[in-house]
Amino acid sequence: MPRATGLAQAVQLTVNGKPQQGVIEPETLLLDYLRDHLELTGARRGCESGYCGACTVLLDGQPVHSCSVLAVTSRGSEVQTIEGTDATVRLLQEAFVARGAIQCGYCTPGIILTAKALLAENPRPSDVEVRVAISGNICRCTGYVKIVEAIQAVAAQMTGSGTRAVTR
Protein backbone atom coordinates (compact mmCIF):
# COMPACT_ATOMS: atom_id res chain seq x y z
CA MET A 1 0.00 0.00 0.00
CA PRO A 2 1.24 3.52 -0.72
CA ARG A 3 2.95 5.09 2.26
CA ALA A 4 3.12 8.71 3.12
CA THR A 5 6.17 9.33 1.04
CA GLY A 6 7.92 12.15 2.80
CA LEU A 7 8.58 15.36 1.03
CA ALA A 8 9.66 15.50 -2.60
CA GLN A 9 7.37 13.96 -5.20
CA ALA A 10 7.92 13.25 -8.87
CA VAL A 11 5.44 14.85 -11.24
CA GLN A 12 4.98 14.63 -14.94
CA LEU A 13 2.37 16.55 -16.84
CA THR A 14 1.89 18.19 -20.21
CA VAL A 15 2.07 21.97 -20.31
CA ASN A 16 1.15 23.76 -23.52
CA GLY A 17 1.69 20.53 -25.43
CA LYS A 18 5.16 19.87 -24.00
CA PRO A 19 5.81 17.02 -21.56
CA GLN A 20 7.31 18.29 -18.31
CA GLN A 21 8.71 16.37 -15.40
CA GLY A 22 10.26 17.36 -12.15
CA VAL A 23 10.61 16.63 -8.46
CA ILE A 24 8.66 19.03 -6.27
CA GLU A 25 7.49 19.54 -2.72
CA PRO A 26 3.86 18.42 -2.21
CA GLU A 27 2.81 21.89 -1.05
CA THR A 28 3.72 23.33 -4.47
CA LEU A 29 0.59 24.87 -5.97
CA LEU A 30 0.08 24.37 -9.69
CA LEU A 31 0.36 28.17 -9.91
CA ASP A 32 3.81 28.13 -8.29
CA TYR A 33 4.94 25.18 -10.37
CA LEU A 34 4.06 27.04 -13.57
CA ARG A 35 5.50 30.38 -12.48
CA ASP A 36 8.58 29.36 -10.50
CA HIS A 37 9.58 26.02 -11.99
CA LEU A 38 8.58 26.47 -15.62
CA GLU A 39 8.83 30.28 -15.68
CA LEU A 40 5.41 30.61 -17.28
CA THR A 41 4.20 33.80 -15.63
CA GLY A 42 0.98 34.30 -17.62
CA ALA A 43 -1.02 32.82 -14.74
CA ARG A 44 -1.02 35.56 -12.10
CA ARG A 45 -1.18 35.34 -8.34
CA GLY A 46 -4.21 37.28 -7.16
CA CYS A 47 -6.45 36.56 -4.18
CA GLU A 48 -5.03 33.06 -3.58
CA SER A 49 -8.45 32.02 -2.36
CA GLY A 50 -10.33 30.91 -5.45
CA TYR A 51 -12.31 34.05 -6.25
CA CYS A 52 -10.40 36.38 -8.56
CA GLY A 53 -9.44 34.06 -11.40
CA ALA A 54 -6.15 35.82 -12.24
CA CYS A 55 -4.46 32.41 -11.87
CA THR A 56 -6.85 30.63 -14.26
CA VAL A 57 -5.37 27.90 -16.44
CA LEU A 58 -7.04 25.11 -18.42
CA LEU A 59 -6.67 21.74 -16.74
CA ASP A 60 -7.66 19.04 -19.23
CA GLY A 61 -9.52 21.72 -21.13
CA GLN A 62 -11.50 23.12 -18.19
CA PRO A 63 -10.81 26.44 -16.45
CA VAL A 64 -9.56 26.11 -12.86
CA HIS A 65 -7.95 28.41 -10.34
CA SER A 66 -4.34 27.21 -10.28
CA CYS A 67 -3.97 28.68 -6.76
CA SER A 68 -6.40 25.99 -5.60
CA VAL A 69 -4.74 22.97 -7.21
CA LEU A 70 -1.65 21.08 -6.09
CA ALA A 71 0.90 20.33 -8.78
CA VAL A 72 1.16 16.75 -7.47
CA THR A 73 -2.52 16.07 -8.03
CA SER A 74 -2.22 17.36 -11.61
CA ARG A 75 -0.01 14.41 -12.54
CA GLY A 76 -0.80 13.13 -16.01
CA SER A 77 -2.97 16.12 -16.85
CA GLU A 78 -2.77 18.56 -19.74
CA VAL A 79 -2.37 22.17 -18.71
CA GLN A 80 -2.74 25.17 -20.98
CA THR A 81 -1.57 28.62 -19.97
CA ILE A 82 -1.84 31.84 -21.95
CA GLU A 83 1.65 31.15 -23.30
CA GLY A 84 0.19 28.16 -25.14
CA THR A 85 -1.21 30.41 -27.81
CA ASP A 86 -3.42 28.76 -30.40
CA ALA A 87 -5.81 30.03 -33.07
CA THR A 88 -8.72 30.66 -30.67
CA VAL A 89 -6.53 32.32 -28.09
CA ARG A 90 -5.09 34.56 -30.80
CA LEU A 91 -8.56 35.60 -32.00
CA LEU A 92 -9.62 36.35 -28.44
CA GLN A 93 -6.49 38.39 -27.77
CA GLU A 94 -7.08 40.46 -30.90
CA ALA A 95 -10.76 41.00 -30.08
CA PHE A 96 -9.94 42.05 -26.49
CA VAL A 97 -7.48 44.66 -27.78
CA ALA A 98 -9.75 45.85 -30.57
CA ARG A 99 -12.74 46.35 -28.26
CA GLY A 100 -10.97 47.80 -25.26
CA ALA A 101 -11.75 44.72 -23.18
CA ILE A 102 -8.28 44.99 -21.69
CA GLN A 103 -6.82 47.73 -19.51
CA CYS A 104 -4.23 46.75 -16.92
CA GLY A 105 -4.21 43.19 -18.28
CA TYR A 106 -3.86 41.37 -14.98
CA CYS A 107 -7.10 39.42 -15.40
CA THR A 108 -6.85 39.03 -19.17
CA PRO A 109 -4.96 35.72 -19.54
CA GLY A 110 -7.44 34.05 -17.19
CA ILE A 111 -10.48 35.43 -18.94
CA ILE A 112 -9.18 34.53 -22.39
CA LEU A 113 -8.51 30.93 -21.33
CA THR A 114 -11.95 30.73 -19.71
CA ALA A 115 -13.51 32.09 -22.92
CA LYS A 116 -11.60 29.57 -25.00
CA ALA A 117 -12.99 26.69 -22.91
CA LEU A 118 -16.49 28.13 -23.17
CA LEU A 119 -16.37 28.47 -26.96
CA ALA A 120 -14.99 24.94 -27.35
CA GLU A 121 -18.12 23.60 -25.64
CA ASN A 122 -20.67 26.21 -26.64
CA PRO A 123 -19.74 27.96 -29.90
CA ARG A 124 -22.70 30.40 -29.80
CA PRO A 125 -23.29 31.24 -26.13
CA SER A 126 -25.87 33.75 -24.97
CA ASP A 127 -24.58 36.83 -23.13
CA VAL A 128 -25.83 35.27 -19.89
CA GLU A 129 -23.90 32.08 -20.61
CA VAL A 130 -20.76 34.14 -21.19
CA ARG A 131 -21.29 35.97 -17.91
CA VAL A 132 -21.82 32.72 -16.01
CA ALA A 133 -18.71 31.22 -17.62
CA ILE A 134 -16.50 34.13 -16.56
CA SER A 135 -18.03 34.43 -13.08
CA GLY A 136 -14.82 32.94 -11.70
CA ASN A 137 -12.79 35.82 -13.18
CA ILE A 138 -12.84 39.30 -11.73
CA CYS A 139 -11.88 42.40 -13.76
CA ARG A 140 -11.47 45.58 -11.76
CA CYS A 141 -10.72 47.91 -14.72
CA THR A 142 -13.15 47.60 -17.60
CA GLY A 143 -16.34 46.21 -16.20
CA TYR A 144 -17.62 43.26 -18.14
CA VAL A 145 -19.56 44.75 -21.07
CA LYS A 146 -16.59 45.00 -23.40
CA ILE A 147 -15.28 41.61 -22.29
CA VAL A 148 -18.62 39.97 -23.12
CA GLU A 149 -18.70 41.84 -26.45
CA ALA A 150 -15.19 40.70 -27.34
CA ILE A 151 -15.99 37.06 -26.56
CA GLN A 152 -19.22 37.28 -28.56
CA ALA A 153 -17.36 38.84 -31.49
CA VAL A 154 -15.02 35.84 -31.59
CA ALA A 155 -17.96 33.43 -31.25
CA ALA A 156 -19.55 35.10 -34.27
CA GLN A 157 -16.29 35.10 -36.21
CA MET A 158 -15.56 31.42 -35.51
CA THR A 159 -19.04 30.24 -36.39
CA GLY A 160 -19.24 32.52 -39.41
CA SER A 161 -22.65 33.71 -38.30
CA GLY A 162 -21.93 37.00 -36.69
CA THR A 163 -23.19 40.43 -37.50
CA ARG A 164 -21.36 42.40 -34.83
CA ALA A 165 -18.58 44.38 -36.50
CA VAL A 166 -15.27 44.59 -34.66
CA THR A 167 -14.28 48.23 -34.51
CA ARG A 168 -11.12 49.78 -33.24
Binding site: M1, P2, A4, L59, H65, T73, S135, G136
Partner: protein
Protein backbone atom coordinates in the same frame (compact mmCIF):
# COMPACT_ATOMS: atom_id res chain seq x y z
CA UNK B 1 1.50 26.82 3.03
CA UNK B 2 3.43 24.73 5.54
CA UNK B 3 5.16 21.55 4.31
CA UNK B 4 3.28 18.28 4.65
CA UNK B 5 3.59 14.66 3.65
CA UNK B 6 1.42 13.59 0.75
CA UNK B 7 -0.28 10.28 0.02
CA UNK B 8 -2.45 9.31 -2.89
CA UNK B 9 -4.09 5.93 -2.15
CA UNK B 10 -6.01 4.14 -4.88
CA UNK B 11 -8.61 2.37 -2.74
CA UNK B 12 -10.96 3.54 0.00
CA UNK B 13 -9.59 0.97 2.47
CA UNK B 14 -6.03 2.23 1.95
CA UNK B 15 -7.21 5.77 2.55
CA UNK B 16 -9.03 4.69 5.72
CA UNK B 17 -5.89 2.89 6.96
CA UNK B 18 -3.70 5.96 6.41
CA UNK B 19 -6.22 8.17 8.15
CA UNK B 20 -6.47 5.81 11.14
CA UNK B 21 -2.69 5.57 11.45
CA UNK B 22 -2.28 9.35 11.52
CA UNK B 23 -5.64 10.38 13.01
CA UNK B 24 -5.54 13.95 14.22
CA UNK B 25 -2.71 15.16 11.98
CA UNK B 26 -3.94 13.78 8.66
CA UNK B 27 -6.47 15.61 6.48
CA UNK B 28 -8.35 14.43 3.45
CA UNK B 29 -8.00 16.31 0.20
CA UNK B 30 -11.07 16.16 -2.03
CA UNK B 31 -11.35 18.83 -4.75
CA UNK B 32 -9.24 21.22 -2.70
CA UNK B 33 -11.37 24.26 -3.46
CA UNK B 34 -11.81 25.14 0.21
CA UNK B 35 -8.99 23.27 1.92
CA UNK B 36 -6.11 24.48 -0.27
CA UNK B 37 -6.92 28.21 0.13
CA UNK B 38 -7.25 27.57 3.89
CA UNK B 39 -3.84 25.88 3.88
CA UNK B 40 -2.34 28.74 1.84
CA UNK B 41 -3.65 31.12 4.51
CA UNK B 42 -2.17 28.79 7.18
CA UNK B 43 -5.58 28.33 8.76
CA UNK B 44 -5.08 24.56 8.45
CA UNK B 45 -1.68 22.84 8.44
CA UNK B 46 -1.97 19.06 8.25
CA UNK B 47 1.08 16.85 8.80
CA UNK B 48 -0.23 14.43 6.19
CA UNK B 49 -2.50 15.18 3.28
CA UNK B 50 -4.35 12.14 1.93
CA UNK B 51 -5.74 12.79 -1.55
CA UNK B 52 -8.92 10.92 -2.51
CA UNK B 53 -8.40 11.86 -6.15
CA UNK B 54 -7.17 8.49 -7.41
CA UNK B 55 -9.91 6.30 -5.92
CA UNK B 56 -12.19 5.36 -8.83
CA UNK B 57 -15.11 4.13 -6.70
CA UNK B 58 -15.54 7.61 -5.20
CA UNK B 59 -16.20 9.09 -8.65
CA UNK B 60 -19.21 6.93 -9.47
CA UNK B 61 -22.87 7.83 -9.80
CA UNK B 62 -25.08 4.76 -9.45
CA UNK B 63 -28.82 4.76 -10.11
CA UNK B 64 -30.82 2.24 -8.09
CA UNK B 65 -33.79 0.34 -9.46
CA UNK B 66 -36.01 1.90 -6.82
CA UNK B 67 -35.28 5.38 -8.19
CA UNK B 68 -32.63 6.56 -5.74
CA UNK B 69 -29.11 7.57 -6.66
CA UNK B 70 -25.81 6.92 -4.91
CA UNK B 71 -23.25 9.64 -5.51
CA UNK B 72 -19.58 9.01 -4.76
CA UNK B 73 -18.06 11.67 -2.52
CA UNK B 74 -15.55 12.72 -5.21
CA UNK B 75 -18.13 13.43 -7.91
CA UNK B 76 -17.63 17.07 -8.88
CA UNK B 77 -20.28 19.78 -8.82
CA UNK B 78 -19.72 20.21 -12.56
CA UNK B 79 -20.52 16.55 -13.19
CA UNK B 80 -23.72 16.84 -11.14
CA UNK B 81 -24.76 20.08 -12.79
CA UNK B 82 -24.31 18.57 -16.26
CA UNK B 83 -25.53 15.00 -15.72
CA UNK B 84 -28.50 14.55 -18.10
CA UNK B 85 -29.93 11.82 -15.87
CA UNK B 86 -29.70 13.91 -12.70
CA UNK B 87 -31.17 16.95 -14.46
CA UNK B 88 -34.12 14.84 -15.49
CA UNK B 89 -34.66 12.75 -12.37
CA UNK B 90 -33.52 15.09 -9.63
CA UNK B 91 -33.36 18.58 -11.17
CA UNK B 92 -33.22 20.37 -7.84
CA UNK B 93 -29.89 18.76 -6.94
CA UNK B 94 -28.40 19.46 -10.38
CA UNK B 95 -29.55 23.07 -10.04
CA UNK B 96 -28.11 23.45 -6.51
CA UNK B 97 -24.77 22.13 -7.80
CA UNK B 98 -24.84 24.77 -10.55
CA UNK B 99 -25.24 27.56 -7.98
CA UNK B 100 -22.00 26.81 -6.09
CA UNK B 101 -19.34 29.51 -6.55
CA UNK B 102 -18.01 29.71 -10.15
CA UNK B 103 -17.50 27.15 -12.94
CA UNK B 104 -13.79 27.21 -12.08
CA UNK B 105 -14.54 26.00 -8.56
CA UNK B 106 -17.24 23.56 -9.69
CA UNK B 107 -14.84 21.89 -12.14
CA UNK B 108 -12.83 20.54 -9.20
CA UNK B 109 -15.06 20.93 -6.14
CA UNK B 110 -16.80 17.74 -5.01
CA UNK B 111 -20.10 16.99 -3.30
CA UNK B 112 -18.38 15.10 -0.47
CA UNK B 113 -15.86 17.87 0.08
CA UNK B 114 -18.61 20.46 0.10
CA UNK B 115 -20.56 18.60 2.81
CA UNK B 116 -17.52 17.80 4.95
CA UNK B 117 -16.41 21.46 4.83
CA UNK B 118 -19.87 22.58 6.04
CA UNK B 119 -19.54 26.19 5.01
CA UNK B 120 -22.52 28.27 6.13
CA UNK B 121 -24.57 29.12 3.03
CA UNK B 122 -23.44 26.14 0.98
CA UNK B 123 -26.13 25.16 -1.51
CA UNK B 124 -26.32 21.33 -1.46
CA UNK B 125 -27.15 20.85 2.24
CA UNK B 126 -30.58 22.54 2.05
CA UNK B 127 -31.49 20.45 -0.99
CA UNK B 128 -30.18 17.19 0.45
CA UNK B 129 -32.10 17.78 3.70
CA UNK B 130 -35.29 18.35 1.67
CA UNK B 131 -34.58 15.18 -0.34
CA UNK B 132 -34.06 13.14 2.86
CA UNK B 133 -30.56 12.12 1.77
CA UNK B 134 -28.13 10.02 3.81
CA UNK B 135 -24.36 10.02 3.92
CA UNK B 136 -22.19 6.91 4.13
CA UNK B 137 -19.20 7.29 6.42
CA UNK B 138 -16.31 4.83 6.10
CA UNK B 139 -13.45 4.09 8.45
CA UNK B 140 -11.33 1.12 9.43
CA UNK B 141 -13.90 0.52 12.16
CA UNK B 142 -16.57 -0.08 9.52
CA UNK B 143 -19.30 1.85 7.83
CA UNK B 144 -22.13 3.95 9.23
CA UNK B 145 -24.99 5.77 7.57
CA UNK B 146 -26.28 9.10 8.84
CA UNK B 147 -29.33 11.14 7.84
CA UNK B 148 -27.77 14.21 6.24
CA UNK B 149 -29.22 16.55 8.85
CA UNK B 150 -27.15 14.84 11.55
CA UNK B 151 -23.90 15.44 9.67
CA UNK B 152 -23.92 19.15 10.46
CA UNK B 153 -23.11 19.74 14.11
CA UNK B 154 -21.81 23.31 14.33
CA UNK B 155 -20.20 26.19 12.46
CA UNK B 156 -17.91 24.40 9.96
CA UNK B 157 -18.15 21.31 12.15
CA UNK B 158 -19.48 17.88 11.28
CA UNK B 159 -20.14 14.52 12.92
CA UNK B 160 -17.10 13.06 11.11
CA UNK B 161 -14.46 11.62 13.44
CA UNK B 162 -10.77 12.18 12.57
CA UNK B 163 -10.43 8.66 11.14
CA UNK B 164 -13.63 8.78 9.09
CA UNK B 165 -14.22 9.40 5.39
CA UNK B 166 -17.49 10.70 3.98
CA UNK B 167 -17.60 8.24 1.08
CA UNK B 168 -21.05 8.39 -0.49
CA UNK B 169 -24.26 10.40 -0.59
CA UNK B 170 -27.49 8.44 -1.00
CA UNK B 171 -30.39 10.40 -2.42
CA UNK B 172 -33.96 9.15 -2.80
CA UNK B 173 -35.47 10.60 -5.97
CA UNK B 174 -39.21 10.17 -5.69
CA UNK B 175 -41.13 10.59 -8.94
CA UNK B 176 -43.71 13.36 -9.36
CA UNK B 177 -42.43 15.39 -6.44
CA UNK B 178 -42.52 19.17 -6.51
CA UNK B 179 -38.94 20.24 -5.95
CA UNK B 180 -37.36 23.65 -5.80
CA UNK B 181 -34.27 25.48 -4.53
CA UNK B 182 -34.22 29.25 -4.21
CA UNK B 183 -31.06 31.16 -3.30
CA UNK B 184 -30.70 34.68 -2.04
CA UNK B 185 -27.14 36.03 -2.16
CA UNK B 186 -25.31 39.27 -2.86
CA UNK B 187 -23.20 38.14 -5.82
CA UNK B 188 -23.79 34.99 -7.84
CA UNK B 189 -20.54 33.39 -6.67
CA UNK B 190 -21.35 33.93 -2.98
CA UNK B 191 -22.72 31.44 -0.49
CA UNK B 192 -26.44 31.82 0.25
CA UNK B 193 -27.68 34.35 2.78
CA UNK B 194 -30.85 32.31 2.58
CA UNK B 195 -31.10 29.09 0.59
CA UNK B 196 -34.40 27.22 0.78
CA UNK B 197 -35.22 23.86 -0.74
CA UNK B 198 -38.67 22.26 -0.80
CA UNK B 199 -39.51 18.72 -1.88
CA UNK B 200 -43.16 17.71 -1.69
CA UNK B 201 -45.56 15.07 -2.93
CA UNK B 202 -48.71 16.29 -4.60
CA UNK B 203 -52.14 15.73 -3.14
CA UNK B 204 -55.58 16.67 -4.48
CA UNK B 205 -54.31 16.92 -8.05
CA UNK B 206 -51.61 19.45 -7.21
CA UNK B 207 -53.64 21.98 -5.21
CA UNK B 208 -52.19 20.65 -1.95
CA UNK B 209 -49.10 18.80 -0.74
CA UNK B 210 -48.41 15.77 1.38
CA UNK B 211 -45.01 14.76 2.75
CA UNK B 212 -43.42 18.20 2.55
CA UNK B 213 -39.73 18.53 3.48
CA UNK B 214 -37.96 21.89 3.73
CA UNK B 215 -34.23 22.47 4.13
CA UNK B 216 -32.61 25.85 4.75
CA UNK B 217 -28.99 26.91 4.66
CA UNK B 218 -27.11 30.17 5.06
CA UNK B 219 -29.42 31.61 7.69
CA UNK B 220 -27.78 30.14 10.78
CA UNK B 221 -24.51 28.43 11.58
CA UNK B 222 -25.75 25.09 10.32
CA UNK B 223 -28.24 24.00 7.67
CA UNK B 224 -31.50 22.76 9.17
CA UNK B 225 -34.90 21.31 8.46
CA UNK B 226 -37.99 23.50 8.98
CA UNK B 227 -40.38 20.98 10.52
CA UNK B 228 -43.11 23.36 11.68
CA UNK B 229 -43.22 25.10 8.31
CA UNK B 230 -43.54 21.67 6.69
CA UNK B 231 -46.57 20.93 8.86
CA UNK B 232 -48.10 24.29 7.96
CA UNK B 233 -47.82 23.47 4.26
CA UNK B 234 -49.07 19.88 4.50
CA UNK B 235 -52.58 18.79 3.65
CA UNK B 236 -54.61 21.91 3.00
CA UNK B 237 -55.09 23.98 -0.12
CA UNK B 238 -51.98 26.02 -0.94
CA UNK B 239 -53.59 29.43 -0.94
CA UNK B 240 -52.06 32.80 -0.11
CA UNK B 241 -53.13 32.63 3.54
CA UNK B 242 -51.46 29.25 4.08
CA UNK B 243 -48.23 30.34 2.36
CA UNK B 244 -48.06 33.51 4.49
CA UNK B 245 -48.59 31.49 7.65
CA UNK B 246 -45.82 29.04 6.67
CA UNK B 247 -43.49 31.97 5.98
CA UNK B 248 -44.26 33.46 9.40
CA UNK B 249 -43.52 30.13 11.08
CA UNK B 250 -40.27 29.74 9.11
CA UNK B 251 -39.10 33.13 10.40
CA UNK B 252 -39.67 31.86 13.95
CA UNK B 253 -38.07 28.51 13.31
CA UNK B 254 -34.67 29.66 12.05
CA UNK B 255 -31.79 30.68 14.28
CA UNK B 256 -30.18 33.43 12.19
CA UNK B 257 -26.63 34.74 12.49
CA UNK B 258 -25.05 38.10 11.77
CA UNK B 259 -21.97 38.36 9.58
CA UNK B 260 -20.43 40.81 7.11
CA UNK B 261 -23.01 39.84 4.45
CA UNK B 262 -26.18 40.40 6.45
CA UNK B 263 -27.63 40.85 9.91
CA UNK B 264 -29.61 38.20 11.75
CA UNK B 265 -32.71 40.36 11.46
CA UNK B 266 -32.27 40.65 7.68
CA UNK B 267 -31.73 36.91 7.31
CA UNK B 268 -34.86 36.20 9.35
CA UNK B 269 -37.01 38.49 7.21
CA UNK B 270 -35.58 37.12 3.97
CA UNK B 271 -36.29 33.57 5.18
CA UNK B 272 -39.99 34.44 5.11
CA UNK B 273 -39.73 36.10 1.71
CA UNK B 274 -37.75 33.25 0.16
CA UNK B 275 -40.01 30.57 1.64
CA UNK B 276 -43.01 32.22 -0.01
CA UNK B 277 -41.18 32.39 -3.33
CA UNK B 278 -40.04 28.79 -3.02
CA UNK B 279 -43.61 27.54 -2.46
CA UNK B 280 -44.96 29.48 -5.42
CA UNK B 281 -42.21 28.27 -7.72
CA UNK B 282 -42.67 24.69 -6.55
CA UNK B 283 -46.39 24.95 -7.33
CA UNK B 284 -45.52 26.33 -10.76
CA UNK B 285 -43.11 23.38 -11.22
CA UNK B 286 -40.06 25.56 -11.55
CA UNK B 287 -36.89 23.99 -10.14
CA UNK B 288 -35.40 27.35 -9.12
Amino acid sequence: MRPFEFAEPTTLSEAAALLAERAGEARLLAGGQSLLPMMSAKLVSPGLLVSLGRIPELRQITWENGGGVRIGAMVTQRTLERSPELRQRCPVLAYAASRIASPHVRNLGTLGGNLAHNLAGSDPPAVLIALDARVVITSQRGERVLPIEQLFTGFMETALEPDEILSEIQVPTPALAAQVYVKHCVRDVDPALVGIAIVAMDADGGSAWSKVRIGVSGVGHIPMRLRRSETALSGGTLDERRIKEAARIAMEEVDPMTDAHGSAEYRRKMTGVMLGRAVKRAIAREAR
